[in-house]
């Protein structure tokens, strides 16, 4: 029997949220990683806030990107190992739609908290308080695009023996556009300029990701399950 797509999506989101909150340490690890990366930059570059401010967009976005790639490990791997993904594929429901729901939940649990906690790191890097709102918005949108893009590589590496390094090798070059527009938006926010142009670009990438990435991710997961 085929139930409505929205019911399926709701069930998947509820299940993933419940599972995630039972293992809170898994939620905190990528955030902690992001904070540590942001701390390492002043130690290696300079403690001067005025110079750190110039590097801040890059530091924040590379930190966010690495942390998001790290969190991708949790997207499919557990469910692939215990056979949940197989049941998804056999359920007769649209796998594309279910994976899209999973990816959105993953973003709610990794990308969004990261964007919301980024102001702490940003203030420590000398980013003016006026730029924080725009920065959070760009990180939230950009990390959504990164989650969608990452779902494809996470699906592709399911069949690989040790997926970890390979996962980042596949994801990082593909995420260059998000990184460029995201860092540009943050840079503009710090300079007090209009952030609309790069934000439109990030939005366009996110829309393209919503349209195509779940299809590719579903194809990738099916290959991994064969």
């Amino acid at each position: 029997m085929r139930s409505g797509a929205s019911t399926v999506a709701r069930l998947v989101v509820e299940r993933d949220l419940r599972l995630a909150f039972r293992k809170p340490s898994q939620l905190l690890q990528p955030l902690l990683f992001f904070m540590i990366v942001a701390t390492l930059f002043p130690l290696t570059l300079t403690p001067e806030l005025s110079r750190l401010r110039d590097a801040a967009p890059g530091v924040l976005w590379i930190g966010a990107l690495l942390s998001s790639v790290l969190a991708l490990e949790f997207l499919f791997r557990d469910d692939a190992q215990d056979g949940t993904l197989e049941q998804f594929a056999l359920s007769g429901q649209s796998l594309t739609w279910m994976l899209f729901a999973k990816t959105c939940t993953h973003w709610l649990l990794s990308g969004l908290p990261l964007a919301l906690s980024a102001p702490v790191a940003a203030l420590a890097l000398g980013v003016p308080a006026t730029a924080l709102g725009s920065m959070v918005a760009s990180l939230a949108l950009g990390s959504f695009a990164l989650s969608l893009l990452g779902a494809i590589s996470a699906g592709l590496t399911l069949g690989a023996r040790r997926g970890g390094v390979l996962l980042s090798l596949l994801t990082l070059p593909l995420s260059v556009p998000v990184l460029v527009f995201g860092a540009d938006a943050t840079q503009r926010a710090i300079a007090g300029a209009a952030i609309a142009p790069p934000m439109y670009m990030l939005g366009a990438i996110a829309v393209l990701g919503v349209t195509l990435a779940p299809l590719a991710a579903a194809a990738a997961v099916r290959i991994g399950l064969e």
């Binding site: 592709l156 690989a160 040790r162 070059p173 556009p177 460029v180 540009d184 590719a216 991994g224």
Partner: protein, 244 residues
């Protein structure tokens, strides 16, 4: 319309025979074109009035850069054909394209760096073209890494095919974003590359070189394809007959 030629492409022994017959012809034509073009480019063509003899690097650099993209597109098309029509030979062809494409990318970057040192005074600048070429190399490496990491050859074929297609969708976006990124850092205008209006003496060897490199690419792909087919079909009876 008669489609037997297309269906025959799905048959490993047929493609193996085709590759065996044609590789020497492509190779010969490639050697001829490259030798003539080298003579034309290195000896007949006059030195550039600004870049002197250093401009001759273009005869290797430009065809390599062109083929680095060509090989990736060929690979993605072969991968798509393999996914859509479930043709194992197409997957083998995609696998054959990747290493040579990656080497063309390395050659384009390497010759670019050698040319950049006397011309720009530095081996590397973060020029949009250089940067996107470097990212292309990373995509090739990712593709080959994915292929190598999955043990089951059929899974590896399909997974890497999806990655190749995702990459093809992404390459223009990467290109665009890198151009956007560089327009922010306009301080480095010294390095701007002027578009040379080439005269005929310089141009024909370059055109011939493009042809020669493309033929060379075809030759290498055919040879690699043969090896790939032999490896995959090693238990099939036609292989025993072909190798005997």
């Amino acid at each position: 319309m008669n489609w037997t030629w297309f269906h025959r492409l799905g048959s490993p022994p047929h493609v193996y025979g085709f590759a065996e017959r044609w590789a020497p012809w492509f190779g010969g034509a490639a050697a001829l074109a490259i030798v003539v073009a080298l003579y034309g480019g290195l000896i007949l063509a006059p030195a550039d009035y600004q870049q002197k003899d250093a401009f001759r690097m273009v005869y290797v650099h430009a065809p390599s850069a062109w083929l680095s993209l060509m090989a990736y597109s060929t690979m993605a098309v072969a991968a798509a054909v393999g996914l859509i029509w479930r043709m194992k030979v197409a997957h083998s062809a995609a696998a054959a394209c990747a290493p040579i494409g990656a080497w063309f990318t390395v050659a384009a970057l390497g010759t670019g760096m050698l040319w950049g040192k006397p011309m720009w005074g530095t081996y590397w600048v973060w020029d949009p073209r250089l940067t996107s070429e470097l990212l292309l190399l990373f995509l090739y490496i990712g593709y080959m890494g994915l292929r190598a990491a999955i043990e089951d050859p059929q899974k590896a074929d399909k997974a890497s095919a999806v990655f190749a297609i995702v990459g093809v969708v992404n390459v223009p976006i990467i290109k665009f974003s890198v151009n956007w990124w560089n327009s922010l850092h306009q301080e480095a205008t010294v390095m701007r590359m002027g578009k040379p209006t080439m005269n005929g003496d310089m141009l024909w060897p370059l055109m011939l070189m493009f042809l020669g490199f493309t033929l060379y690419f075809a030759t290498v792909v055919l040879i690699r394809l043969r090896a790939e087919l032999l490896r995959r079909e090693r238990s099939a009876s036609w292989v025993r007959e072909a190798v005997a």
